[in-house]
């Protein structure tokens, strides 16, 4: 399923003294089965934008097309319920939203709320649990007896049980330890690769954005500053730094080294530690500094 926006604008508390424009002139396409990262400062409009992806917010002007459904600024759109099944949003610290007595009941809540029978929901719960890398023993446990990382997986399983076609993730690794972070990011990647789910990842981690995404959207002051592949985005790191954004550690290091040397060490900025290693090795082996 494709998501596409045309001149999307969103103004909070429109026509009131507190009116505040959060988004303007957003024209993006999130293709079917793609992995898109959205980066930008706190306050750049990332969270407001992602709430449009399943109709939690409606544009105040312009439009967003989610699959076949076009949502504009008109009042109360119908058909939002079916959209919310297809686009699952995992908010920050989703484990705070767990509430049921057992893991199984918690995961079943969403599907049953959308009209599935208990039996069907239970089958889905089992499958979703497997997708997040937990075994069936967890089904009858209380979610509150689990570790933070496990609770987060349960919360994500609750979204997966709706069988979304697009999964929107807002800082999904915040607060997890390094292993938990890698595991959960690898899990999303396999949902994208093996199950054909589109991923939209909102993140502050430039490493994750460059490692996993095939496209990156840079948000700045309420609009899209740049759109492209990780290579294209990080090809001009100075530009991102000027916006006050981070660049991947490997690029930051390369810039420091190049400043010290007074020359470039590679054809392009290194978006991974392997590229950086290659660039440093060729610099060390080279006869003359260019």
């Amino acid at each position: 399923m494709e998501i596409k926006t045309k001149h999307l604008e969103y103004v909070y508390q429109k026509n009131s003294p507190f009116e505040k424009r959060a988004l303007y002139n957003i024209n993006i396409t999130i293709p079917e089965n793609s992995y898109t990262a959205i980066i930008g400062h706190t306050g750049s409009g990332k969270s407001t934008l992602l709430q449009h992806f399943n109709g939690l917010l409606q544009p105040t002007s312009g439009e967003i097309q989610i699959g076949d459904l076009v949502i504009g600024s008109e009042k109360k759109k119908k058909g939002l319920k079916s959209i919310r099944k297809k686009v699952g949003i995992v908010f920050q610290f989703p484990e705070h939203q767990l509430f049921e007595e057992t893991v199984e009941k918690d995961i079943c809540f969403g599907p049953m709320n959308f009209g599935l029978s208990e039996e069907e929901a239970k089958i889905r719960a089992k499958k979703a649990l497997k997708q997040v890398g937990l075994n069936e023993e967890f089904l009858q446990k209380s979610p509150f007896d689990l570790s933070g990382g496990q609770m987060r997986r349960i919360a994500i399983a609750g979204v997966l049980a709706m069988k979304p076609e697009v999964l929107v993730l807002d800082e999904p690794t915040a607060g997890l330890d390094p292993r938990g972070r890698t595991e959960i990011m690898d899990m999303f990647y396999s949902l994208y690769k093996q199950h054909g789910i589109s991923i939209v990842l909102v993140t502050h981690s430039m490493e994750d954005a460059s490692k996993y995404a095939d496209h990156i959207i840079v948000m700045h002051k309420g609009t899209v500053y740049k759109y492209g592949t990780p290579r294209e985005i990080f090809d001009s790191p100075e530009e991102l730094i000027k916006l006050g954004l981070d660049v991947p550690e490997s690029i930051r290091f390369q810039l420091k080294l190049e400043e010290k040397i007074g020359a470039q060490i590679g054809k392009q900025p290194s978006i991974s530690i392997n590229e950086l290693t290659d660039n440093i090795l060729s610099y060390l082996k080279r006869g003359d500094i260019q």
């Binding site: 706190t42 306050g43 990382g149 997890l176 330890d177 938990g180 550690e249 930051r252 290091f253 530690i273």
Partner: protein
């Protein structure tokens, strides 16, 4: 020998009698004026340690000493005067309607006279560069600013130790740097002892010393250089190594004998540059 400011002697703790031990036979010391980072996987007991340092929890076995006072129900308030805590979620630690009210809250509880209170609130906010925000409502601040106000609230009580319990994990990179810079400056100016519980290995790399927790026990303690030389062992514990250590490792695997203990990026830049001069 430096003054042992925090001491854990064979401390064990369970959240209830049927639960497994959250901490088992833990002993370590924190010295006056040092920055100690405590790292470990989720559920390794890090936050339990923090809560035992200011009497939010009490040990089941063993003793905790803070500035030579033994943690007990009787002395808990004396101990809390010395230990300030900053928690993870900036939105969960506000009580006042304005920034200055919030910082004053703890002082009011301590019955500090008004004149002194005003002075201390200003001083504390100056320390965290938030004096311009005195009358702002806390919910209008950014995450980094909120955490700095939380630090000011703690600071106004003039503690000897500040514990940061994953205090930067919900912040964006800019907010994280703001907070860490403020804490670093404070530590140097006020001779504070800082205990930082963190998953951020780059932050831990800048500490004076690191304790690695694993499954409720102290797995290792040492200088950052020594800890990060554990490399694969750390990965097995669910942790990671900082970027610089990874790069050194990768260059070593390609035949360059770069010292394993370089942790600062600047030092590695210099080293590579010098290496080139000598080829």
């Amino acid at each position: 020998m430096a003054n042992k400011f925090v001491q854990f002697n064979n401390v064990s703790f369970r959240y209830d009698e049927e639960a497994p031990y959250a901490l088992k036979n833990v002993s370590f010391s924190v010295f006056e004026g040092e920055w100690l980072a405590i790292v470990g996987h989720n559920g390794s007991g890090k936050s339990t340690l923090a809560k035992l340092m200011n009497g939010l929890l009490f040990p089941e076995e063993g003793d905790v000493y803070i500035n030579h006072l033994k943690l007990s129900e009787e002395l808990v308030w004396d101990i809390r005067d010395q230990v300030g805590m900053v928690f993870q979620n900036p939105d969960n630690q506000f009580v006042g309607t304005t920034v200055q009210d919030d910082v004053a809250f703890g002082l009011e509880n301590h019955g500090i006279p008004r004149d002194e209170m005003v002075e201390r609130v200003h001083e504390a906010l100056r320390h965290v560069n938030m004096v311009d925000f005195l009358d702002q409502e806390p919910h209008h601040l950014s995450g980094g600013q909120k955490q700095r106000v939380a630090i000011a609230s703690v600071l106004a009580l003039r503690p000897k130790i500040i514990i940061l319990d994953e205090a930067t994990s919900m912040l964006d990179p800019r907010g994280r740097n703001e907070v860490l810079e403020v804490v670093r400056e404070l530590k140097n100016k006020e001779n504070l002892t800082i205990i930082s519980i963190t998953h951020d290995l780059d932050e831990a790399a800048k500490a004076d010393r690191i304790i690695v927790m694993n499954k409720g026990q102290v797995y290792r303690e040492g200088l950052p250089e020594d800890i990060f030389m554990m490399d694969d062992e750390l990965t097995k514990l669910g942790l990671d190594i900082p970027f610089t250590t990874k790069l050194v490792k990768s260059l070593r695997e390609n035949g360059y004998d770069i010292p394993k203990d370089i942790l600062q990026e600047e030092k590695l830049v210099d080293y590579i540059w010098k290496l080139k001069q000598n080829i």
